[in-house]
Symmetry: C3
Subunit: 107 residues, 3 copies
């Protein structure tokens, strides 16, 4: 048995949550209030059998890999907001720690 | 030293908290915002010596074992709620992960 | 790789957060709602290479060691609050669990 700690961006959290849940994993979502550089993250705890860790990794990779996205940039003049040319921004990413479980019980 | 992660229903959380605390365990309660199927859960982190893990399990088993409860069912007609015959509902349950601690310090 | 769980008082949390972050550690702050005796605590999860655990400990020790502080005591009479002679109060302290990480990935 393993316990997976996955720290993902808030934007990716709902899809991470639903895809893991749909795949039958036990998922617990912790409210994280974020450090200075880590604002806007969500921490998932996922309990899983050893042989399914790779499946968890695959789902995480699919839902929250580091990627770039085109976003409309905006310019503000005189209190009015104008949408201008699209810019490329980096989004996503996940930090994953897999811990070995000594003992697991469902009470 | 072990670190116990216990995920219990919110209904059972206050008694889990007080019974562990009364028994002298160091208990930290994490705010969990719950996955799709896991809404309404609380995660406890309990640091304990190896030989007291069984005591933690006993307390958890006592406070939040899966059990059925008779609840008044309710029927709603025309916006008015009627209480009808009692039905049996499943409540409680806990998922417990015990992890080995490499190093433990009280600063 | 290690995963450090550090439970510190809320008063010390901002400095713990900023000093760890400045030192280049990956810090995740969990919202903890505190048990009976543990109200007002914050839990940090810090992922770090084995050889830097001591550095994490040093920073934690520096920011939140148990210590006494002189505080103005206050006396209330007839709804009015008077500041009186300073008293010594115990503040700070941290409980730290270091866990071994089986597998670590940045996605
Ligand atoms: Ni295992
Ligand atoms: Ni041990
Ligand atoms: Ni290691």
């Amino acid at each position: 048995m393993k316990l997976v700690f996955a720290i993902v961006g808030n934007d990716d959290a709902p899809l991470v949550n639903s895809s893991l849940t749909k795949a039958g994993f036990q998922v617990t979502k912790l409210a994280t209030t974020g450090g200075f550089l880590k604002a806007g993250n969500t921490t998932f705890i996922i309990g899983t059998e050893d042989e399914k860790v790779e499946k968890v990794m695959d789902l995480l990779r699919k839902q929250c890999s580091r990627r770039t996205q085109m976003m409309p940039s905006t310019a503000t003049t005189d209190g009015t907001m104008y949408s201008s040319y699209p810019i490329e921004v980096a989004v996503g990413g996940a930090t994953v720690f897999v811990l070995d479980v000594d003992r697991f019980e469902k009470l």
